[in-house]
């Protein structure tokens, strides 16, 4: 960010203030709202007729809802990586990215919670988890840890936002009155005096320390939902680390994608520079190599032994009906991004944006491959069951709900960007002042 040291505080504030949606922004919001409404209608049908509207049956009882859940949980981990790990390690260049990472975390974990309720079929039975929950069950651990992570993420989003809320409340902009009132309600008490600064900094440091183990727990517990079940493909001691490495990768891919879009839409080239893309590119390469390493462990070792029960599952993945999807996820989600981003030219904004999307799309299909093929390969053969029990392809209602949830998460991010500064204003000014004086 060397090139912003010459900017005045007023200029930075003006540049980073949230802006009203342009024509493209409105079209974007309209598309997302439309997809959400179709998803809501599909969910209404599911509530009315039950889970029979899905193509999940006795064997595949976890379909794309659970794939989506794992995807959301994975992507939410980026909040702990960019915000907490980088902040604790004094990585100053990450400042413009912290809020992007944190809002991705909050929106993803919100929809992870919602999609689980959708998968239950009978949402009112959620209360039974609290009334009759068994602490011995990994599902109960997941409920506790997701709630905790959501709460920490909201706090980690809110406390660093306080100085910016004061700035926005004071700005004489043309925005709607309710928005001004909203800013004042959230942060009018922030005066920026030393006592407040001290408490705020201390609270942020505590949150950063706290969120890292909780983030590790959230995805480890999600992996244990699978690994504690004795099934081909899930029976692995590698699963916790495998899930966390994959989560950091998809989260970083999502941040890269969001960085590019925000930079382009709000003309923030002075704040999110090519240097940021270059550094994030190197991080994505590191994370992709790490995830690839765990994938080799996860598939090569069982394939080397080729136990009878694992054979059908692995054959389906490597050469069978899931092979195109499997190799797509490996190549597009890991190998190609590594090959592109390992070069300096590959770490320019546009190639970074494309590889970011590849990582995210590859990661979604990877989650589908973790969940579904295993369920189609039980230890006991499937006999005397209807033919449609032996296959799974999601119904239109499942697709609509899954896409609706993804759109919902994007809508939260979009509205956040519209209402709040996506790059911390006060922190940017402070950093610039510190650099100017040093």
């Amino acid at each position: 960010m060397e090139n912003i040291t010459t900017l005045t505080s007023e200029q930075i504030t003006k540049d980073l203030m949230p802006q009203q949606f342009g024509r493209n922004g409105k079209i974007w919001v309209a598309i997302l709202v439309l997809i959400c409404l179709i998803g809501a209608y599909a969910y209404y049908l599911q509530l009315k007729d039950g889970l029979i509207v899905t193509n999940m049956r006795d064997y595949v009882s976890w379909g794309i809802y659970i794939s989506n859940f794992v995807f959301f949980v994975a992507i939410s981990l980026v909040g702990s990586l960019i915000t907490a790990v980088f902040r604790l390690a004094n990585v100053e260049w990450s400042t413009p990215l912290t809020r992007i990472a944190e809002i991705i975390a909050v929106s993803a974990i919100t929809f992870a919670s919602l999609i689980i309720i959708v998968d239950m079929g009978r949402p009112e039975r959620l209360l039974n988890l609290f009334a009759y929950g068994r602490i011995q069950s990994p599902i109960m651990w997941d409920v506790i840890v997701i709630t905790t992570y959501l709460f920490i993420s909201i706090l980690l989003l809110y406390i660093p936002l306080l100085p910016d809320l004061k700035i926005m409340g004071e700005q004489d902009t043309k925005g709607p009155k309710w928005l001004k009132k909203f800013y004042r309600f959230l942060g009018s008490f922030w005066k920026g005096n030393p006592a407040q600064e001290k408490i705020s900094n201390k609270s942020i440091t505590i949150l950063c320390i706290l969120i890292i183990p909780v983030a590790f727990c959230i995805h480890t517990v999600t992996s244990w939902l699978f690994a504690t079940t004795y099934r081909p493909g899930w029976d692995s001691t590698n699963f916790g680390a495998y899930f966390i490495s994959g989560a950091f990768l998809v989260g970083a891919g999502a941040v890269v994608t969001a960085m590019f879009v925000v930079r382009k839409m709000y003309s923030l080239e002075k704040y999110i520079t090519e240097e940021h893309f270059d550094k994030m590119g190197k991080i994505v390469v590191l994370l992709a190599l790490l995830y690839l390493y765990f994938n080799v462990n996860e598939y090569l070792v069982p394939a080397f032994k080729m136990k009878k029960a694992e054979e059908g599952h692995l054959d389906e993945l490597f050469t069978g009906q899931f092979a195109p999807l499997f190799w797509f996820a490996i190549l597009v989600g890991m190998v190609i991004p590594i090959l592109v981003l390992v070069t300096k030219k590959g770490r320019k904004p546009l190639p970074m944006f494309i590889t970011g999307i590849m990582v995210v799309v590859g990661a979604w299909f990877k989650r589908y491959l973790i969940v579904t093929p295993t369920l189609l390969h039980p230890f006991l053969p499937m006999t005397n069951v209807p033919e449609n029990f032996k296959h799974y392809f999601p119904s239109w209602e499942e697709w609509a709900i899954a896409l609706g949830s993804l759109s919902g998460a994007l809508l939260i991010i979009t509205f956040f960007v519209r209402i709040f500064p996506i790059i911390p204003i006060q922190e940017t000014i402070t950093q610039q002042n510190e650099k100017a004086t040093s």
Binding site: G133, R134, I135, Q136, L155, L162, Q196, K202, L210
Partner: protein, 292 residues
Amino acid sequence: MKKLHHNILKLLVTLCCFATAGQTANAQSDSVPATKIIRMHYYNVNNSMQYILLESQLKKEKTFTPQANKTYNLYLDSAANLVAMLKTDKDGKAKAFIPPTLKAAWEGSSQHTFIVKEGDEELVSDYVITKSKIDIDTANEDGARVINVSVMKMDNNEWKPAAGVELKVGFERLGGILSAGDEETYTTDSTGTVKVTVTKDSLPGNEKGIITIAARADDNETFGNLLAEKNISWGLPTEINTHFFDQRALWTTRFRTPIWLLAMAYSIVIGVWGTLIYLIFQVIKIRKLGRT
């Protein structure tokens, strides 16, 4: 060329012959008539519960197919005494108890004939049962446990010994009868009794050592199916291991969670949420500092 035409003609004729032969065989198979089979089984359990089990099947060649949802009328001795209107289940079976309304007719004779009709068609009219009873008595003879089973039949309103009845005598085990002595079955003598010396003397019973003695006659031509049972404390008392369900384990109910898990889970939850509550108070503190 002429030879080729000749060969094609021969081939067509052969194919026609095969096709005709196949159709004839199928037609013959279809023309075999199916036969209705009605089987009757009389049961007398512990001399107090009598019922009839009817089985309806369709026999075609060597295949028996259960006749589901068929309706039959079952009569006792004559069409005036309707026992029940029976409807067969998916296995082609239906059960009927002797109703209290037929008590006088039932007690009035030593022998009874059961008649089955489907509509006006009489399907069974020769299923005859002689009333009988079966009793179990136990004794200790020179330190050996003995089971005495007597079978009596009704003859001119008097109970008389039923000789030559083949019985299984033993202990009820897993839905079957484990023979109490060395023989698989026993036959009643002229006094209508069998005497079985128990050779299996260390069978596990319930927690009080109670086991069930059973004597059973299967599909006897004269008396039908007879069963008598008697509980006796000849078994070894079984200690029911409730400890298995009492222990704290990962698979038990939430009230028996292992202490180590409770300690771990609650310490983490209290630690993390305690810190979060502290942080909320810090936010409140920031708020107060801004207001003052």
